[in-house]
Symmetry: C2
């Protein structure tokens, strides 16, 4: 990574945390450059304007998140061949990952952007939307594979059950943040896991 890339990443790191803590509108370039020890012109060398910063933050966040999900659910699939059990293992791994964050989850960028919607140009909004659709697709595929083997015990729409992963994580993050109890997030994920178990298990003990 060249020196330029390094600076750019540093700016993104600082901006990302600020956006999650105060919102995009309240995140000032002034404050970013102060922390990054760079001048304003240096900043504008890396990002044409604030909206380009927004896009870069979100893009990087989404790439990392996708990478994490790939890693966890690929690993889960290695650990168990059955689609249901693999999914349950993946959720457990996810819950553990979330529980391991020392200061709690810093926040979901998708959620932060939803509550700053009006500040962004259409390209950013569409990026956000596409990301959530991607997660929907990812989990719907897993659920369909499960449903083929284990018929669901309630009449549910698998697409919504897939959305429920994102919903649970985003909702859990908010509760964790609001309560100041980081553990809440992983507990919510485990409850989703409990639902999946009840929904697909052929015999419930």
């Amino acid at each position: 990574m060249g020196k330029g890339q390094e600076t750019r990443e540093r700016l993104l790191d600082i901006a990302e945390l600020s956006v999650l803590a105060k919102g995009f509108g309240a995140t000032s370039i002034e404050e970013i450059i102060a922390e990054a020890q760079i001048t304003k012109s240096g900043f504008f060398y890396h990002f044409r304007d604030k909206n380009e910063l927004a896009r870069a933050i979100l893009q990087r966040y989404l790439d990392r998140e996708d990478g994490l999900l790939d890693e966890l659910f690929d690993r889960a699939r290695e650990l168990h061949d059955d689609p249901l059990h693999a999914f349950l293992i993946g959720l457990k791994l996810l819950a553990e990952k979330m529980a391991d964050l020392p200061n709690g989850h810093p926040g979901c960028m998708v959620a932060a952007y939803c509550y700053n919607e009006r500040l962004f140009d259409p390209s950013v909004r569409s990026l956000n939307r596409t990301a959530v659709l991607g997660w929907r697709e990812r989990f719907v595929a897993m659920l369909e594979e499960i449903a083929e083997v284990y018929p669901p015990r309630d009449d549910v729409d698998l697409q919504s059950v897939a959305d429920m992963v994102s919903s649970t994580v985003d909702g859990g993050i908010i509760l964790s943040k609001a309560l100041g109890e980081p553990a809440v997030l992983s507990r919510q994920i485990l409850l989703y896991r409990s639902y999946i178990k009840l929904l697909f298990s052929p015999t419930v003990n």
Copy 2:
């Protein structure tokens, strides 16, 4: 309601929508007073500073929300005597209420404030926390009553199951907003309902 109260409410209405759409930091007093057709000094007659506006918005939001929940779950209890069925009816009513919003849910103020945390003084943050604890208490009471009659079919922590109501709503709102699909929210609530059904129903068909 006197003329002063009316103006105050109008200011809160405008500010509330803006906060949900752009975040508190990006919500400018200038823009609020332009829409409210009042001068800046008029605004500061009603609110000492921006933080007092924040507190007033949140307080009013929480009061309304509590009122809504009271209404729905009291009504549900009127419709059915059994605690489980009453809860399921309440959730159905909630899902219907959320589905009835013409332009989708405008957003949860608690969530918006979480992603603007650093902008508020401790009193506002504590107000937010207390609200979520209140919801936890409300639903934990219902769940305990249910669990006495219907032993849960999975080993879960009722407090977390109670939190899951808030988590589901907040998560659902985010997905709805991100996707531009208002229907997603009520579907998520119905999935939570499905979980409750599976978790407590003595015989699952």
